[in-house]
Point group: C2
Chain length 235, copies 2
């Protein structure tokens, strides 16, 4: 005798499972309210008992995917107990890339063209945004750990400019007290990694590199060395 709440939770999970199935097979455009309902043998209005709108359904799916990705990356760090934090970062970076390559549709939903809408006042308190923050924290915390474990040399303040230093100093508390120059390098790592993976997954590197694997490796070595981590050689 399934309790009513359990039944509800079960169908809710089925809905999101069907939504994801459609996402994988046909891209984000294929995950429509009616299509999801069709997948479950329900009529479209039935889904409104579970989500207030189509957008909310997509939002929940996004949040789930973020959490799944976050969990996968955290597990990647902890299963094989790697003491070297630099190697952990390497695993993390490759984990994100592999996830993106293995799940391009999901990746596109999470990281493709996020905020073109300039509606400022509604602070993103959506579950998707919060899950994105949790995801970002994985990298942020590991980089901060690396800094406190083996502080890496960072560019002198004169090179970054007063204004940037001021902005980065303001973020110091969110980076566990790292100095602005170190935050700059961390941000550079994230920026380059993110851009690289997006370009590869979205196929914007095909015109010059059919297989960007080797390029990614080289870039990863470069930005790893910038953080004072000794990386494995190329060949």
């Amino acid at each position: 005798m399934e309790s009513r709440d359990r039944r509800r939770a079960a169908t809710l999970a089925e809905i999101k499972a069907a939504a994801r199935r459609l996402l994988v097979s046909g891209g984000s455009a294929a995950v429509g309210l009616r299509a999801v309902a069709r997948e479950l043998g329900l009529t479209p209005p039935a889904l409104y008992r579970y989500f207030p709108s189509h957008e909310a359904l997509i939002g929940a799916l996004i949040a789930d995917l973020y959490d799944e990705l976050t969990a996968a990356l955290m597990q990647l760090q902890t299963t094989e107990e790697v003491p070297d934090l630099g190697e952990r970062l390497y695993l993390l970076a490759n984990g994100l890339r592999n996830w993106g390559l293995a799940h391009p549709a999901e990746f596109a939903l999470l990281f493709g063209t996020a905020v073109p809408t300039p509606d400022a006042d509604d602070h993103d308190e959506t579950p998707g945004h919060q899950a994105a923050m949790r995801f970002g924290a994985v990298f942020k915390e590991l980089v901060a750990q690396i800094w406190h474990w083996k502080p890496f040399p960072y560019p002198p303040d004169e090179l970054l400019g007063k204004e940037l230093i001021a902005q980065l100093t303001q973020e110091s508390e969110h980076f566990q007290g790292m100095p602005p120059g170190a935050i700059y390098l961390s941000l550079t790592y994230w920026t380059r990694l993110y851009g690289l993976i997006c370009m590869e997954v979205f196929g914007q590197l095909h015109w010059v590199l059919p297989d960007a694997g080797a390029y990614f490796e080289a870039q990863l070595r470069e930005i790893g060395e910038a953080l004072g981590l000794d990386c494995p050689p190329a060949d």
Copy 2:
């Protein structure tokens, strides 16, 4: 007495103008066949005299925007006659960023989530893709000019790895005979610039930097120096 062809060309231009107006005011989702027709005081099927489908209309709009961006960047290089090629690259990079920040909706249409569809066989011979190639050539040619003007030091082959060197060597003819290491650095420049601008325009940097201008400047200096260009100091 307007010739028939002229009238046709005029309405065709009006259609694309209306489409762009809708794009700017409401994002790419607002650019619908019926909305465009409404904007011109026409009925939706009338547009099928000018475009075989909604997708084709969007494609033409994309091609136009690419060409406009390309023209703006090329003009930026030639109006003020700057002999220093490094400064030209700097102007180009800033020009692309400024265009993206000034026209976020258009930028998103061009560079947001381009190729999630894994349909391989239909070689992209669409006007949009061709215009994108023309756009990319602007950067590619300038970087090649810089190389032949003042060859910059590039990482030794051992650092990049045999496979990457092999891939880059294959692209040497498309880069005016540049050695693989130099192509690698050029690619790095483009990759970092592109990723940086996308992240800023799409608002994925807001959570750490409300105004990414100073960060962009610093990054530009960094990648410029990697190409042997002496950049203006920070403050």
